[in-house]
């Protein structure tokens, strides 16, 4: 490894350590002077916030694991014991429970910021893809964590989601039995979910480290989406962005604490305070809010794909749904290679700027549809005819599933449009430099 000139530290102890292991030099380089574009807005806080929530989840999770019992007959009551008898257990548990939602809120904002300002584009493709891997790992972790309290939604959510793997051709059922460790979701399932729920956050931590390492190779993107051209375009990370992050973090904590202390169960489902019962299916099984857009995509595929003019099913509706759901993530993963426009920031891409908001709206619609029962209707949109056995027909609300299907199609359509868009989009002229854009004539 090539050694750069090391600046000695005044403190003799730090200097002694640094000569032998230059961690302090590294810290100073990566978090002290690390040159960052001078024009970040507050959306650039959310990466640091994600890391903060990850650490919070790991710390509270380890403490909870000391009191939790992963056994079907004890899990529910051990959580209630934490809530009632363990000192401050209610606080740790509510932080962990709401922390999962906070993690997704923060990460989704982080992702949409990346989409708006083109942070996924060359040379940050791998940085982006590592981020999508983190999202996938977060989903797996959150799903397994939700199973641990062993309430009704835990059990039935686990049953529905693990059953998806039975859609895999030929080996599906075998895979599901293998995942369960038995012939239904039961104690072995709970046990392995607990083991994996403890393991995966550390895997996330590792991938997050790579994500940050990759960031420090190519540097941060910025709202203008143009590379810094010299020292006049950048400022040291400390104290400028450390102070800005600290302020943003405090505002975020106000929101987080507000949820924990005043609406701790608002984002949860009441059914999960009923102990798991394999004999009673809840009337309406819904995943946690952060899975709803993907759940809507899964449910939007209700048709088999057949070879035309025959009855031979190529892709069953179940497999199609699973493929669409994972495809939604794969599309995000491949985005750097789909959108080839050389201009990063939506600020200078008039058409993409509009498409971004339509895409965001589409995701909100998917979230809404995913949270509603499969047979829900839009009552104020009376454009669908319903007929009874005697052929008496009347106008009723449009079935929500059609809106879900449209929204699913648009989700994928967005990526198709992005593929062709650069050929037709006239981008606006980019500013000379970040400094010129930010400081105007003063630069």
């Amino acid at each position: 490894m090539a050694h750069q000139e090391r600046v000695p530290f005044d403190n003799p102890v730090i200097e002694w350590v640094d000569q032998r292991l230059p961690v302090f030099t590294m810290m100073a380089k990566e978090y002290g002077v690390f040159p960052s574009p001078r024009n970040f807005n507050y959306l650039w806080n959310f990466g640091a916030l994600s890391l903060f929530v990850l650490v919070t989840m790991i710390v509270t999770g380890i403490v909870l694991a000391m009191q939790y019992t992963p056994h079907t007959s004890l899990a529910f009551d051990s959580v209630e014991r934490i809530m009632r008898d363990v000192n401050w257990g209610w606080l740790i548990r509510y932080i962990h429970m709401n922390g999962a939602s906070m993690f997704f809120i923060v990460v989704y904002i982080h992702i949409f910021r990346g989409l708006y300002y083109g942070s996924y584009k060359q040379p940050r493709e791998l940085l982006w893809m590592l981020g999508v891997v983190i999202l996938l790992l977060m989903m797996a972790t959150a799903f397994m964590g939700y199973v641990l309290p062993w309430g009704q939604m835990s059990f039935w959510g686990a049953t529905v989601i693990t059953n998806l793997f039975s859609a895999v051709p030929l080996v599906g059922d075998t895979v599901v039995t293998w995942l369960w460790g038995g012939f239904s979701v039961d104690n072995p399932t709970l046990n392995r979910f607990f083991a994996l729920h403890y393991l995966l956050p550390f895997v996330i931590f590792g991938v997050a480290f790579l994500h940050i390492a990759a960031l420090h190779i190519c540097g941060s993107n910025n709202p203008l989406g143009i590379e810094p051209k010299g020292p006049q375009d950048t400022i040291p990370f400390h104290p400028y962005y450390t102070s800005k992050d600290m302020f943003g973090m405090t505002i975020f904590l106000l929101f987080f604490a507000g949820m924990v202390f005043y609406a701790p169960n608002y984002l949860g489902h009441p059914d999960n305070y009923i102990p798991a019962n394999p004999m009673v299916t809840p009337p309406h099984i819904v995943p946690e809010w952060y899975f709803l857009p993907f759940y809507a995509i899964l449910r939007a595929v209700t048709f088999d794909i057949k070879i035309p003019f025959t009855d031979i099913i190529v892709i069953s509706s179940k497999l199609g749904g699973v493929m669409a759901m994972f495809g939604a993530i794969v599309a995000l993963l491949l985005l750097p290679f789909i959108d080839r426009s050389p201009v990063r920031s939506a600020v200078f891409r008039p058409i993409y700027k509009k498409l971004f908001w339509v895409f965001l709206l589409d995701c909100v619609v998917l979230t809404y549809v995913g949270g509603m029962p499969a047979d829900a209707k839009v009552e104020w949109l009376k454009i669908q005819q319903y007929c009874d056995d005697k052929n008496v027909c009347s106008w009723g609300g449009l079935e929500l599933q059609y809106i879900g299907k449209l929204a699913m199609l648009y989700y994928f359509g967005h990526f198709v449009i992005l593929f062709f868009l650069p050929r037709y989009e006239k981008t606006l002229p980019l500013p000379q430099s970040i400094a010129a854009a930010v400081l105007g004539n003063k630069a």
Partner: protein
């Protein structure tokens, strides 16, 4: 000076769409009693007198069928009973003792450390005594239903004669707050079902209010600690946010 801004209007529109009307439901929306709940709001604390009256309603009415398995008698000190009173309450119940020297299990008086004694030995016994229906455990009832304590209150006060077009199945009772409108439990509260020691008139409305308060405490015994800690945390964070904002302004003033 050029500056990129994140448009807020589309975000607001999306949030508005989220609040779009939901499919109509036959079930009535639960509502709070007149005067609301003393324990709601940012600084809410439990109405101690209502908690004790609510415990009396639970003990004398609900406990005939419904267990409260996550609570111990010792927990009753939280709602204002002193240790002697709790010992006396516990002593009113019998639990199986440890096996004696001959291996026989005799009954002993319950201690404050014992869990609330259940009305039925097991699920089968509970169903057998209730026309096949299972009276659910009430420990977490308030957190396990949409509407929370409003639901419990509305359900208990919501028994009424069914509309003409509703056919009630044998052994069932009409209650528009219950999913499906037909509930196995007959109206449990009637005027004067209990005699309150503090002289409060035991109307159905009063008893429903009291027992719903009691069950809110049973489901969330740390509610007061949570709200009080929350207030301190929020005040601290608000002040800290102000300081951090000043720091940030100060640091960045060198650049602007």
């Amino acid at each position: 000076m050029q500056k990129s801004r994140f448009p807020l209007a589309p975000t607001a529109l999306m949030l508005a769409l989220l609040a779009a009307p939901v499919a109509a439901n036959e079930q009535l929306e639960p509502h709070a009693p007149n005067g609301g709940w003393k324990h709601s709001g940012i600084t809410g604390t439990f109405d101690r007198a209502a908690l004790q009256r609510g415990y009396q309603v639970y003990k004398e009415v609900c406990a005939a069928c419904h267990s409260l398995r996550l609570l111990s008698y010792r927990n009753l000190t939280d709602i204002g009973f002193n240790e002697e009173q709790v010992k006396a309450i516990a002593a009113g119940y019998e639990v199986p003792a440890e096996p004696d020297d001959n291996g026989e299990i005799k009954m002993r008086k319950a201690l404050p450390s014992d869990h609330f004694v259940k009305p039925f030995a097991n699920e089968k016994a509970a169903r057998a005594a209730n026309n096949g229906a299972l009276p659910p455990d009430l420990s977490l009832m308030v957190k396990a239903r949409h509407g929370g304590e409003d639901y419990v209150y509305s359900l208990l006060t919501g028994y009424t004669t069914p509309p003409e077009d509703v056919k009630i199945m044998p052994g069932m009772n009409y209650n528009p707050y219950f999913p499906g409108g037909q509930i196995g439990m007959p109206a449990p509260l009637s005027e004067g079902a209990v005699t309150y020691a503090d002289g409060t008139k035991a109307t159905v409305d009063q008893m429903a209010h009291d027992v719903a308060t009691f069950l809110t405490w049973a489901a969330e015994p740390k509610l007061e600690a949570r709200k009080q800690t929350g207030l301190k945390v929020m005040i601290f964070l608000a002040v800290f946010a102000g300081i951090m904002y000043a720091v940030k302004r100060r640091v960045w003033s060198k650049l602007h």
